[in-house]
């Protein structure tokens, strides 16, 4: 259980930097604005969730990338790793501790801001779907964890700073901003420029499209609330490969796979 000591140290380090406090301000500010914009009946409650989700799907991954991409490489470059690993911690303890510590740093502003917003909801709206709301909060943290998996995994995989930075922010742009366009372009090329394929997509193509953590996040948000996002996945005739539980697996996969691959490279490296 020695990863706990690493996680505690890492979290302490973050509270000493301005990062955690800055994030708290930003998240609470954003949800403050969103609650101000939407007040009233049930329809507005959905609008509140939708605006929140739209902000989170862009912002949470970016924060996770920033929190994670220097996590390991910085300790290697500066030499603090010599102190950490001369203690009875394995390299795996170090990675798990870092990942958990940074996930907590991300989770605190997400959860605190949502908790604050829930007070506003109870005051202003007629109904408050508590369970769905809690699940949405956990889902937001899971989205962050997926990108922490990517960024921490990259941070372990090499000592070339440039590559880690490019890889981490590249992953954000490709998976978040350009994902749909890239998928569409690939399909159209595979189908020899028959645009009809975009309307009637094969099941595997829908799965690949949902394989981005952002898409999976939207898919699961739509499963919790009756929202008009991710309609392609929630349509009555959508194939099973885009069911909500598959989206859960996708998010788990984005935590486990990049961490696993990064760890394999890290574990065999001479420091």
């Amino acid at each position: 259980m020695s990863w706990r000591a690493v996680a505690r140290k890492d979290f302490l380090d973050a509270t000493r930097s301005k990062m955690l406090w800055g994030l708290l301000v930003v998240f609470i500010g954003y949800l403050g604005i969103v609650s101000y914009l939407s007040q009233g009946g049930d329809a507005e409650l959905l609008e509140f969730i939708e605006l929140t989700a739209q902000g989170f799907v862009l912002f949470v991954p970016l924060v996770s990338i920033i929190l994670g991409y220097k996590s390991i490489i910085d300790e290697r470059e500066s030499g603090t790793i010599a102190l950490l690993l001369s203690l009875p911690h394995s390299r795996r303890d170090m990675v798990v501790g870092k990942f958990v510590g940074r996930t907590v740093v991300l989770a605190i502003p997400v959860l605190v801001s949502l908790l604050g917003a829930s007070a506003v909801i109870v005051l202003l709206f007629d109904s408050f779907p508590v369970i769905d709301y809690v699940l949405f909060a956990l889902l937001s943290v899971a989205l962050g964890a997926a990108f922490l998996g990517i960024s921490v995994g990259l941070s372990m995989s090499t000592t070339v700073n440039r590559r880690v930075t490019a890889g981490a922010f590249g992953a954000y742009v490709v998976l978040g901003v350009l994902w749909k366009q890239i998928m569409d372009a690939m399909l159209v090329i595979l189908w020899r420029f028959e645009n009809g394929v975009l309307v009637d997509r094969p099941a595997w193509a829908m799965f690949v499209q949902m394989a981005s953590p952002m898409e999976s996040f939207d898919r699961l948000t739509a499963a919790l609330f009756d929202l008009d996002i991710a309609t392609a996945y929630t349509a009555a005739d959508a194939p099973w490969v885009v069911d909500a539980w598959v989206a859960v697996l996708v998010l788990v996969g984005w935590v486990v796979l990049p961490l696993g691959i990064g760890y394999i490279r890290f574990s065999i490296a001479d420091l």
């Binding site: 020695s2 000591a5 603090t80 102190l83 303890d93």
Partner: protein, 299 residues
């Protein structure tokens, strides 16, 4: 330590280094910079994997069971950096938590003279203060083995003396101390046994006294004479206890390496041969010379 080799491509950093440190001894690991001392210590810590060979600490292989091996170790590594944003006390709390030890951070900070700095962020520490902090971290949990890689780097003479006292205190407690340095006097002052590493190879391993003896009897005589006569040097060399005699200055100065007891015999022999002794000086044979000899004078 069994036949440890480490190669980086075609460069051999360590070549079949093989030795054992006994429990409870203070072992000095001596060698010029770049001899491979830190590579060796990094293998103990599993920062670096040997190309060949095994290192075991308390029966645990440092590579496959590194965590267990490090549980009983306290380490002051080389090339570390402290956590800028954490205070001195938080550094110690981290180590105490990592080792499941129950110790008072302030007590340890007091031992290394950092009590008044306990709540300062370590980012503002000088190299010497950082070194004291990491020494305190190495002492957490009364480790059975303390590994110190160039511990006096960045310390002033006073700090170096305090470091030496702490090493001796730990040795008295029964801890094994493994201590690397490129400075002979430090090793000489505290170590029971010394290994000299040169260009990745273990040049020698012995006690301080053993090394002294191997230098040649322990004494060097420098004798000023009026004029050396033919054959005198040869007759000195036939004396018991004399190792070597030679002229260090044309006709007027002789140097002799010999055992302590033979000193007088040399002077008597010169007198008998009719050589007038004008001045006479003895020198303890210095380990410095020997160290220079082993390491090709590349200090």
């Amino acid at each position: 330590m069994e036949n440890i080799s480490k190669r980086y491509g075609t460069v051999t950093a360590l070549d079949r280094v093989d030795f054992t440190v006994k429990e409870g001894e203070v072992f000095g690991f001596l060698g010029p910079n770049g001899a491979g001392k830190s590579t060796m210590i990094n293998i103990f810590l599993d920062f670096v994997r040997p190309t060949e060979g095994h290192v075991r600490i308390f029966g645990h292989d440092c590579q496959s069971e590194g965590k267990q091996a490090r549980e009983r170790m306290g380490v002051l590594p080389e090339g570390y950096e402290v956590y800028d944003r954490l205070t001195a006390r938080q550094h110690l709390e981290f180590v105490i938590g990592s080792k499941d030890a129950e110790e008072e951070p302030m007590e340890l900070l007091g031992r290394v003279g950092l009590r008044d700095e306990s709540d300062r962020q370590a980012g503002g520490f000088s190299k010497g203060m950082a070194q004291r902090l990491v020494l305190a971290m190495a002492l957490v949990g009364d480790p059975d083995l303390i590994v110190l890689d160039e511990p006096t780097t960045g310390l002033d003479p006073n700090g170096a003396r305090e470091m030496r006292n702490i090493i001796l205190q730990e040795a008295d407690r029964g801890a094994t101390v493994f201590f690397s340095s490129h400075i002979l006097e430090q090793v000489e002052a505290v170590c029971d046994r010394v290994g000299i590493l040169h260009q990745g190879e273990l040049a020698t391993i012995d006690t301080i006294e053993g090394l002294r003896e191997s230098v040649g009897g322990g004494t060097k005589l420098q004798i000023q004479v009026e004029k050396v006569q033919n054959g005198v040097l040869d007759s000195i060399e036939t004396l018991e206890g004399v190792e070597q005699a030679w002229l260090s200055q044309e006709d007027t100065q002789i140097e002799v390496t010999c055992s302590n007891d033979a000193k007088l015999d040399v002077v008597v022999e010169l007198n008998d041969a009719g050589v007038e002794v004008e001045n006479f000086r003895t020198e303890e044979a210095s380990l410095e010379d020997m160290f220079a000899e082993y390491t090709g004078g590349s200090r």
